[in-house]
């Protein structure tokens, strides 16, 4: 209700909001922690009047009124302060006196969030809980037919190749003739990213990089991290850890002059260069780092002034056709490191993906193709892009792989897939499904946020405020008051847990296939699904 006691079309009650805060007067100790921590000031101390009628039994005396006042936690109902359901209030409450509860019916806020004609923007993920990848089963369990392996006991070298792999005879010929051989990296099939410095907080980014370095140097797992657009800290560029990094270049070209300046001082080549043309979470839409996230640090890394909006347009300006665009970018980026570094484009999964892939097969410098499906995450996008635009990843990966098979090049151009891998926590199963559909490796982002840093976001539209710099866990904030809640060491530690755990699970899946050294890329006879149409579409087993 409005202060004047009148209703406006956008006057909302708590019932109209997506999240209702249940507060217990009985349990509350009025410590102030919940209101202090709430990222969006959805709650405040409320003054409440309480009236008690005092009536003597038998009505022997004249009834009396007792008015009193008590203080409690009150939920605000205006659009700007609607509860986001993050649950930080519950987290800090010493008595568990408060907790957000999801509305039992679709909220009304969604109809009013476009105040001032600005449609909803948010971070996070598509608000759809299902995961097609979860539907895929691993049906080939070779107990006796193949030499089955034991995931716990056998030694596995789960590695994949990133780079253009030439047919042996050609490779031999070129070697003999002393020609140029495309660079190929042997890496772990789980790639982190792409997540930019800027979209992520400094503590989160450093924590992940530290974890990656640890996995490489202490655990012998060649895990790679794709930077996303937004540059790379100068020190990292000049360190040996650069070899664990896939540098991304995108339409905003942020931070690239710093990368160029660092070229003469690089101790190591980066793992690869990813040219981003599209993102699964918001295909066809660009990126925007809001000015309030562009502090001194971000400005320095991106090579821009502080406090300005940083748009990455949906398209690169100097590219006009697919033939020319892709070739030109791959050529330039390859040249930057003397053709020693694999360069590949990343596109959002799309019905036009095969055109890109076919183009790449004709380009000797194209190292791979990365595709990002609709279930990918993002730091900021329009709700409509996130929820309604994009292509599922499974079918497009399969199509791409089968297309390569048709061309006889399935072992030459690796496909990397992302977007919803591990969406519901089934990271290894989803990754394995993707690999058996034809991917050489997977890219993950959101899952890592959740597992390595405790991201509170969910497909039920919980939190998802990465875009406004108020991340309650400090994952996507540039405000030291928030990002210092996150200890990079702990992030690194969790990342190691996640990857090591993933490794064990992946082994559990591939061991019964008798695979211990080569990934079952495209091994579609090992997977099945109970949906006949899906089975037919993907060319995998229909099982019941």
């Amino acid at each position: 209700m409005e202060p004047d006691g009148q209703l406006k079309p956008s006057s909302l009650s708590t019932k109209d909001l997506p999240w209702q805060l249940l507060w217990s007067k009985e349990k509350c100790t009025l410590c102030g922690r919940c209101t202090a921590v709430c990222p969006v000031q959805a709650i405040e101390l409320g003054v409440h009047r309480k009236r008690v009628l005092q009536i003597a039994l038998g009505l022997t005396e004249k009834p009396g009124n007792v008015f009193g006042v008590y203080h409690g936690i009150r939920q605000r109902t205006d659009v700007a302060h609607a509860c986001i359901g993050c649950g930080m209030c519950d987290m800090v409450c010493p008595n568990h006196a408060i907790m957000p509860i999801h509305n039992d019916e679709p909220d009304k806020l969604r109809f009013h969030i476009n105040q001032g004609g600005i449609p909803r923007r948010r971070g996070g993920r598509r608000n759809a809980t299902g995961s097609f990848l979860d539907e895929i089963k691993f049906v080939r369990i070779s107990m006796l037919t193949d030499p089955a392996l034991d995931a716990g006991r056998h030694e596995f070298e789960l590695r994949t190749l990133l780079g253009r792999i030439l047919p042996p005879e050609e490779a031999l010929r070129i070697t003999r003739e002393g020609g140029w051989l495309p660079p190929v990296r042997e890496i772990y099939p789980l790639i982190l990213g792409s997540m930019s410095f800027g979209a992520l907080s400094p503590t989160m980014w450093e924590g992940l990089q530290m974890g990656v370095a640890f996995l490489n140097e202490e655990m012998g797992m060649p895990v790679r991290f794709a930077t996303g657009e937004g540059g790379c800290p100068p020190r990292l560029l000049r360190s040996r850890f650069l070899k664990y990094v896939i540098l991304q270049i995108a339409s905003g070209y942020f931070g690239w002059d710093e990368i160029i300046h660092a070229l003469p001082e690089m101790k190591e080549d980066p793992c690869a260069i990813e040219i981003k043309y599209g993102q699964g979470a918001k295909p066809g839409d660009g990126g925007l780092l809001m000015w309030y996230k562009v502090n001194k640090l971000i400005a320095a890394i991106r090579g821009v002034p502080m406090g300005v909006n940083l748009p990455s347009p949906p398209t690169h300006q100097t590219k006009y056709s697919i033939e020319e665009a892709v070739a030109k970018m791959i050529q330039s980026m390859s040249m930057a490191w003397g053709f020693r570094v694999p360069v590949y484009p990343k596109i959002s999964a799309t019905s036009t993906a095969l055109a890109v892939l076919n183009n790449l097969t004709r380009n000797p410098y194209a190292a791979a193709l990365a595709m990002d499906g609709e279930d990918g995450g993002t730091g900021a996008a329009y709700n409509v892009s996130m929820n309604h635009m994009g292509h599922p990843i499974a079918g497009i990966v399969r199509d791409a792989y089968l297309n390569l098979v048709k061309l006889g090049k399935q072992n030459e151009i690796p496909i990397f897939a992302g977007g919803g891998v591990g969406k519901n926590g089934n990271l290894a199963a989803n990754a394995a499904a993707m690999i058996m559909l034809g991917a050489s490796g997977v890219q993950v982002g959101k899952t890592i946020m959740q597992a390595a840093a405790g991201c509170l976001g969910s497909e039920a539209d919980r939190c998802n405020i990465c875009n406004i710099g108020l991340c309650p866990k400090g994952i996507t904030s540039q405000d030291p008051r928030l990002y210092r809640r996150l200890d990079p060491e702990k992030v690194a530690e969790r990342l190691v847990d996640v990857v090591v755990g993933f490794d064990t699970e992946l082994k559990k899946i591939v061991a019964p296939l008798g695979r211990s050294t080569s990934l079952p890329i495209g091994m579609s006879d090992a997977i099945g699904i109970t949906d006949r149409n899906a089975a037919e579409r993907l060319g995998i087993r229909y099982v019941l």
Binding site: R49, E206, E218, R235, L236
Partner: protein
Amino acid sequence: MSLKPTIMIPGSEKGVRVDSRVLDERIQKAVAEGHRNIEIIAQGQHGLGGRLWRAGNEPVSIRILGTSGQRVGAMGFPGTRIDVVGPASDDVGWLNAGAQIIVRGNATNGVANAMAQGKIYVAGDIGARGMTMTKHNPRFEPPELWVMGGVGDSFAEFMAGGVAVICGHKAQQADNILGYHPCIGMVGGKIFFRGLHQGFSEKDARLTVPDDDEWGWLTIHMAEYLEAIGRTELLPELTEDRAAWRLLAAKKPHEKAGAQARNIGRFRAEVWDRELGTGGMIGDLTAQDRGAIAVITTGSMRRFVPFWENEKYLPPCQAHCPTGIPVRKRWELIRKGQMQEAVDLALAYTPFPATVCGYLCPNLCMEGCTRQKADLPSVDTALLGRASLQAVVPAPAPSTGWKIAVIGGGAAGLSVAWQLRMQGHEPVIHDVRKRLGGKITATIPRNRIPDEVLEHELKRMEGEILHKQLKHALTEEEFGKLHEKFDAVVIAVGAQKARIIPFPGHERAVAALDFLRESKLDQAKVGKNVVIIGAGNVGCDAAAEAARLGAESITLIDIQAPASFGVERKHAEAAGAKFLWPRFTKVITETAVELKDGEVLPADTVIMAVGDQPDLGFLPEEIKTEKGFVVVDEKYRSSDPKVFAIGDAVRLGLLTEAIGAGRVAARAIDDLLRGREEIYDQLPAIDPERVKLEYYDPRPPRFEDPLSCAAGCASCGACRDCGLCETLCPQNAISRKEGEEGAYEYVVDADRCIGCGFCAGACPCGIWRLAENDPLE
């Protein structure tokens, strides 16, 4: 001891190999028949020597010649002794449950797999996966595997108990007697070994040296082993150098946890920061401390900070009062028991605290009262206004000698003159009327303002302000003289010229102002039927007066919904006046007002109340006017810097607006005379949402006296010093700090405050504000 002689069981008959099933039947039968020494000339048959329970507690000795098959001694029983004279195939002693098995040559893969009891003595090397899945059942002695040479790959996988001894004597792989990756998944048991190795699963096993007990056990049992395989000559060699022996023992579950290579903290310090430099990845780019902080923070790490904003905003009453009277301040004084001060305070703002605030003003202050937002009646300022009759005139400032001509002695003129007088100047009111007060005196009916109140206030003013009664309406020439003679001139002539719409017959209508003036002098007369054209407040006053004068039927017509409100409207309605709209007058006849739609309203008297205009005939052309009103800026300065204009001469308005204009103009004149330009800080009005009315009785109260009003005033924006914030603050961060002369403030200890905003949420007066903390780098 055996009762029967050694029996020989051949593995082939007539050149044909005997089936494993048949051979086993024959062996079992032989034992059942009492044979305890059996020689088998094997041809690769499976599972020889196993399951010989038919011997009961008696020992059975099996000697295997020829080629033993897989799983010699599988499921062997205690008391069975199997002597394989030569090498053995896979899985020797598989699931052995107590047999002693001697292999005089090498054994291939899977030796002792799943063995739970018994002993296996191998005189040579063994193949892969020896001693795997072995158990130790606490009901029995642990199983033992002795190997003279080395073992193959994946030794002791999932070993869960038992003892293995690997002597490393003339091992085939002398550089690695334990094979590739031994001990994976090992959870129990021990492995004694002697010789070189190339690693084992450190996750599962721990490398030590035998302690004294273990060494004792090894040497004693070594002799038995050598005896069994007939190599006793090796005893000295194998036992003379205790230091050559090592022991692998399974790690206990608690030892396995956290067995990571290096913890991240050390990695960060020793690897990460060392490679990147102090401060890590971005240590060169920011000096910002990035150390982890708690979720709930204080000091500079608070996200929000409270501010005590006492009297930084105007209360809505004061903000809504065109005169600018500090209403809230007056209630505060009353609450403190300073009634007289509260009353006197009004005179600093208006010369008519009783007449206007108490009777004639629609009390915009009350309309703005925060209590309205909670559907509570506003505090009644009219009560306070009426109580102001007894206000004591403050002493004017020392005389400045500056003279100001004020043309017009109505509300506006009196206000500006009053203010100028209080500033020490000498205002002179020029008015043709004998009595000051303008419309208040001349036209507002007595039922709205008691004479004695008005008289009292006029008298109070007359004691302070000079009044020069003009003989006739001011002329342009006279105005010029005033302009010359005085230091400043204020035009406050009001709107005295009635507006008459020239309908046919308009000459039959009387202007409302004239009617009211005459009525007040008791010189007006009305007929039975009165029609008033224009249903505004002046029309209403006319209606009420017409009724007083005996009219029987009074009709007010208007071309739109009547703009009248408040007391005037009520009085007219109480007098039985009808309001009709929209009605468009066509003609005024002797007996009626005829409307354009043909309706005829009988009218003996027609009063025209469609507004008034100032009479500015004296104004020289240089002073700009627009549509008959003097053009002024926000300080009521006309286009002539020395001439000011206020009240209805500028725009038609309420008395309080005229009085307020007088205040503003007086300040501007003061500035002009003193040659300065001051900015009078007009504080913004407080957001009424900040004020908490839940602390007050929600039932509509009856305000019957200033004291009850004072108690109901929420003191918007001004601290009541209730101390609630200090009490409520969960961190004990707020305290009251005494200043000089009773001044105080509430202050926050930043090191305690967590920025919860409870102070802002609870403050009854809306003093505390929670703001975002200043951004950090």
